[in-house]
């Protein structure tokens, strides 16, 4: 008996919720946003939530997500409506197919100029380049292992690669081999974990010491510390698939990482139904400075996505007001 009541109650609550939602947002309707489990995507999801809710009157809700499950659910069921930050490199074929079949649409790039501001590369601290301009290029760094002394093997230079077991361990090993770095006086050091890799870089930069390591953007670490991104040359996708990303590839050639494609993806149903909201998402693209600032804020204050969104919307009105028409901007501002 109790259960019947409970279910009945739930149904009533749901209908009321729907009715109320419908009334409040006739133009936009119910929208679900995937909130991924990493910092930058959580910030993006909550910024979208706030703007869509207060600016466009949508009935928005976030749902937890992760790259592959969210992509699968969007292409198969058209749910959630928005994935604010999807890293496409590893799921390209599926995305291309779903776009062709008209199930999803790629709205925008999350970061301006992703070739420079996003993705994997090799880094050294900027102050080292300022002191010694020769280090600005990869060739210049590789010629100077004595500047990056390995404390456990002082006659060699230390390059900190990628933690054991990660996919990047294989491509770092191959790139290390391809550039003949062992013969040039380098050791490839395995940091063992993501935390230790970040800790090693942070330790060196905090103390003004030398460090040469693999890392990736956008991250709080690279936003917080001024690091110089070394140009690893042209990316050869065929070689990358055939050899650079294959364990124990016998004869790797120098290669670099693919430009990371970090996009906002929406379901076609949402794009058709909520045209205005969709044009906002198409315009939304962060600059590296403010995006980095959000990540630093989250890292230093142990803040979640919601607090990060509030921080961004309050601090950078000149940035986000360009993404929306003036009347929407006024509504968002009023809600802050």
């Amino acid at each position: 008996m109790k259960r019947v009541f409970a279910i009945g109650g739930l149904a009533v609550a749901m209908t009321m919720g729907l009715a109320w939602g419908g009334a409040a947002s006739a133009a936009c309707g119910k929208v679900t946003i995937a909130e991924m489990n990493w910092a930058s995507a959580q910030a993006a999801a909550n910024i979208d939530l706030f703007i869509l809710k207060n600016g466009y009157g949508c009935d928005v809700e976030t749902v937890p997500g992760d790259t592959v499950p969210t992509m699968t659910s969007m292409t198969e069921k058209g749910e959630p409506d928005i994935a604010p930050e999807l890293w496409l490199n590893s799921i390209k074929p599926q995305i291309a197919k779903a776009v062709k079949e008209g199930r999803i649409e790629v709205a925008s790039e999350v970061l301006d100029n992703p070739g420079i501001n996003a993705g994997e590369s090799w880094f050294i601290p900027k102050y080292m380049v300022d002191k010694n301009p020769e280090l600005a290029t990869l060739a210049g760094v590789l010629a100077n292992p004595q500047l990056f002394k390995d404390p456990e093997d002082p006659s060699k230079g230390r390059f900190i690669g990628c933690p054991a077991g990660w996919a990047c361990q294989i491509n770092n090993e191959n790139m290390f081999k391809a550039r003949d770095m062992a013969a040039k006086g380098w050791n490839l050091v395995d940091p063992g974990s993501g935390a230790a890799l970040a800790g090693a870089i942070a330790k060196a930069v905090n103390r003004g010491e030398a460090v040469f390591a693999y890392y990736w953007a956008p991250t709080a670490l690279l936003s917080k510390y001024a690091m110089h991104r070394l140009d690893l040359g042209k990316h050869d996708a065929v070689e990358y698939g055939k050899c650079t990303s294959v364990k124990d590839c016998p004869n790797p050639k120098p290669n670099s990482y693919a430009v990371s494609e970090i996009n906002t993806v929406v379901s076609t149903a949402f794009a058709k139904k909520a045209n205005d909201a969709y044009s906002y998402l198409k315009a939304r693209s962060f600059g590296p400075k403010e995006f980095g600032d959000i990540l630093i804020y989250m890292n230093e204050n142990k803040a979640g996505g919601e607090e990060a969104a509030e921080y961004f919307l309050k601090k950078y009105p000149q940035v986000w007001s360009k993404w929306v028409p003036a009347d929407v901007a006024a509504k968002v501002k009023a809600a802050l």
């Binding site: 404390p151 456990e152 093997d153 900190i160 933690p163 054991a164 077991g165 990660w166 361990q169 050091v189 395995d190 940091p191 063992g192 974990s193 935390a195 230790a196 890799l197 800790g199 090693a200 942070a202 330790k203 060196a204 905090n206 103390r207 230093e300 204050n301 142990k302």
Partner: protein
């Protein structure tokens, strides 16, 4: 009802954040000011670690097996154990894990040595005063239960990645048993034996060296044995801050679900553990029966 009765009256978010921030900032500036000096202090340890690892890596494999088998024979005097140890080492080498096993062994031996050098004097001090005991015991509890990564990342911020922070992590986790059991062993020495010593006019040092430590030796050996076992248990954790050895392939196996790779390297760790355990235990056991035998005759 008052809200503080329903919800825990917790500190305001801002104050909490300010505290966390203050601690983080304070630690960073501490590392900036003293980090280089602290690193210099550990330089000899690092030098010794590197030297010892190179020694084990560069020595011919058969020589190392001979030495280990010799030590086993000396400690246990049992052919079955000697044969088992030789077989385990040969299998490890045959399965291509020789280098990593030598690295892990070097690390574990240096850590154990350090733990003994620091731990036994602390244990002796604890046994001599109840006040020291009551201050050291809670510290040991913290060392054994604090999740390792909580202090590992600060250590990495101070000393970087590699052998020295790995050594610190292992020693912090593995040292409590040798301290506890040294303390316990000395405290368990019969009061009457000590009184007999007093009657013969022994000095404090004579009492310690000639009566208490020898009689406590089996217990202390049990502590050393436990310390070695716990050091081996930390192999994988240490590899998470860049220590080379058997831990790295295990880590790789765990993140990629390489079942066989993980199993082989895990079994190599187990083999090392069994060798260390049996050798130290039978040594302690023999020492005990030897002493008892002397007493009977």
């Amino acid at each position: 009802m008052e809200t503080w009765l329903l919800e825990f009256p917790q500190m305001s978010q801002d104050a909490l954040r300010a505290i966390k921030r203050g601690i983080d900032k304070g630690y960073l500036s501490f590392s900036r000011t003293y980090g280089a000096d602290i690193e210099a202090v550990f330089e000899p340890v690092l030098y010794f670690l590197v030297w010892f690892e190179k020694l084990l890596l560069n020595a011919p494999w058969w020589l190392i097996i001979l030495v280990i088998v010799g030590i086993t024979w000396f400690a246990a005097r049992r052919w079955t154990l000697v044969l088992g140890v030789a077989a385990a080492l040969l299998l490890i080498g045959y399965f291509g894990m020789w280098e990593n096993t030598m690295r892990t062994m070097a690390m574990i031996l240096v850590c154990t040595l350090l733990a003994i050098l620091i731990g036994i004097p602390i244990g002796i001090l604890m046994s001599r005063s109840d006040r020291t005991q009551s201050t050291v015991l809670p510290v040991l509890d913290v060392m054994q239960t604090m999740p390792s990564f909580v202090y590992l990342i600060p250590v990495v911020m101070l000393l970087g990645i590699g052998k020295v922070p790995g050594l610190l992590a292992v020693v912090i986790y593995a040292i409590p048993p040798v301290i506890r059991l040294t303390n316990l062993g000395i405290r368990l020495v019969d009061r009457e034996v000590l009184e007999a010593g007093d009657a013969f006019g022994t000095s404090k040092w004579q009492k310690l060296y000639d009566i208490q430590i020898p009689l406590a030796m089996p217990t202390i050996m049990a502590g050393i044995n436990q310390t070695i076992m716990m050091a081996l248990a930390m192999v994988v954790i240490a590899s998470m801050i860049g220590v080379k050895g058997l831990g790295q392939p295990v880590l790789q196996a765990v993140t990629n679900q390489y079942f066989a790779l993980g199993l082989f390297n895990g079994l190599a760790v187990v083999a090392l553990a069994i060798i260390f355990d049996r050798v130290t235990q039978s040594w302690g056991h023999r020492m005990q029966t030897y002493r008892q035998g002397m007493g009977d005759e």
